[in-house]
């Protein structure tokens, strides 16, 4: 059985439904599954590296390489980051899932701060953009 220590945090039912709705050939479907899996691994590792003090990076990577399935990695991360590692990784996985769902639904989920004032006023017609208020 293939397993990584944060597997139980990966609950992507909605994404699974989207994948199942897509008409792909069997090989394309497997490629898609693999890429989603890899995206999650890269993002989780990025999240760990961002939150872990740099002098612990090598130690963590060694532990992860030696036993990717070991639940004790959560204890290690919580101790070294001073944050709840489960909550941290759960949040990151949820964020990736949202982004991937956005890709499936054909929308770029851009944060609101990137919207132009025109688009923002379209979304919220009650508030007028700042410039016009002057």
């Amino acid at each position: 059985m293939s397993k990584v220590f944060y597997d139980h945090l990966i609950v992507l039912d909605e994404l699974e439904r989207e994948v199942n709705r897509t008409a792909l050939s069997p090989s394309e479907k497997e490629e898609l599954w693999q890429m989603i899996d890899e995206i999650i691994h890269h993002r989780v590792l990025g999240c760990v590296m961002d939150n872990l003090p740099s002098h612990h990076h090598h130690d963590f990577l060694t532990r992860f390489h030696d036993a990717p399935h070991n639940d004790a990695l959560f204890v290690y991360l919580t101790e070294k980051t001073g944050k709840d590692a489960v909550k941290l990784l759960k949040g990151e996985i949820a964020a990736v899932a949202d982004e991937l769902l956005g890709e499936f639904r054909g929308k770029r989920q851009r944060p609101k701060r990137f919207l132009t004032s025109k688009k923002r006023s379209k979304q919220n017609p009650q508030k007028k953009p700042g410039r016009q208020n002057k």
Partner: protein
């Protein structure tokens, strides 16, 4: 003046006629990877130095777990045939005597109780001894020769979570209405094909046997088998329509199914899949996910029909 060199896209993006969603996820995949290794180049170097790609972390993990289990079995298995687990007859007799006056002293009730005694609370790959014991109990109670390993082949796990799948397209132009009637149609038809393609090239060539194979199909994670890519031509044929016995470990409902698709993805948290009919038989109309045992059926003469298992024909 030197011409500016055209930057080639990522190798995965260089193909043509890629499904749009696949293209978008490929681009996302490339971006995420570049971001991680751009920000933390020592991570890339760490894995490079160890000859491992982060994308292979699951197969790497499977190898470590496999090696650990093997070592443990060498170190912990008593050398002189002394088993820590009781013999199957002992379990069955114990349960039978304990529940003689109870209404569930049926083969099905005994199977559920035996499974409760043997199986761990959470799904995990079973040990060789646990699998052997279960094989014998199934043989005694159901009269079916179920094997965790058959002809040297073994799945990554025999005790895992099964999830509901959709109907599969059996021939070009197949429609949902042709798959039966009633609640069983609610699952819909998968838009793509199963891992082994269509069951028949035309509707006229769809035999009753193939129809049964789709009706009672199972999905297993062949793509995560450690030697899948290395032995692809052989394994692809070996697994195609391979008969398996699926036991709902919570209620004892049992189905004989044939493997007709590969999956589910590792990130779904599930290990097997079942057709709408299989899921209905295992747990009723609302059953979508649950723990099951999945063993190969040793049936070279093709005598065991697909579908729900009749306990009254057991060999107890």
């Amino acid at each position: 003046m030197r011409k500016p060199t055209k930057r080639l896209p990522h190798p995965r993006l260089q193909r043509t006629a890629v499904h749009p969603i696949l293209h978008r996820i490929q681009a996302k995949h490339h971006k995420v990877k570049t971001q991680l290794f751009g920000k933390h180049p020592h991570v890339e170097k760490f894995f490079q130095d160890r000859g491992l790609d982060l994308s292979e972390i699951r197969s790497h993990s499977a190898k470590i777990i496999g090696a650990g289990a093997l070592t443990a079995s060498f170190l912990l298995t008593p050398p002189s045939g002394i088993k820590s687990l009781p013999v199957p007859q002992e379990i069955i007799e114990k349960l039978r005597s304990r529940s003689q006056s109870l209404p569930d002293a049926t083969p099905k009730g005994l199977l559920v109780k035996s499974l409760r005694e043997i199986l761990p609370e959470k799904v995990r790959p079973l040990t060789h001894d646990e699998e052997k014991l279960l094989e014998q109990i199934i043989d005694r109670l159901l009269g079916i020769k179920a094997k965790a390993s058959l002809e040297g082949e073994h799945l990554n796990t025999t005790f895992g979570l099964i999830g509901a799948e959709q109907h599969l397209k059996r021939y070009p132009g197949d429609s949902l209405a042709a798959h039966g009637a009633g609640k069983i149609l609610q699952a819909g038809v998968a838009p793509g094909l199963g891992a082994w393609g269509q069951f028949a090239p035309t509707k006229a060539e769809l035999t009753p046997s193939l129809e049964e194979k789709e009706r009672w199909y199972a999905v297993v994670q062949t793509m995560y088998l450690p030697d899948w890519n290395r032995r692809l031509p052989y394994l692809r044929d070996w697994y195609r329509y391979r008969k398996v016995l699926i036991v709902n470990t919570q209620n004892g409902n049992t189905v004989v199914a044939s493997i007709a698709d590969a999956g589910p993805a590792a990130w779904t948290g599930k290990h097997f899949g079942g057709s709408p009919e299989v899921m209905f038989s295992l747990g009723g109309p609302t059953y979508k996910k649950g723990p099951v045992l999945l063993f190969f059926v040793d049936d070279p003469q093709n005598q065991i029909p697909l579908g729900p298992v009749d306990y009254t024909k057991g060999a107890i």
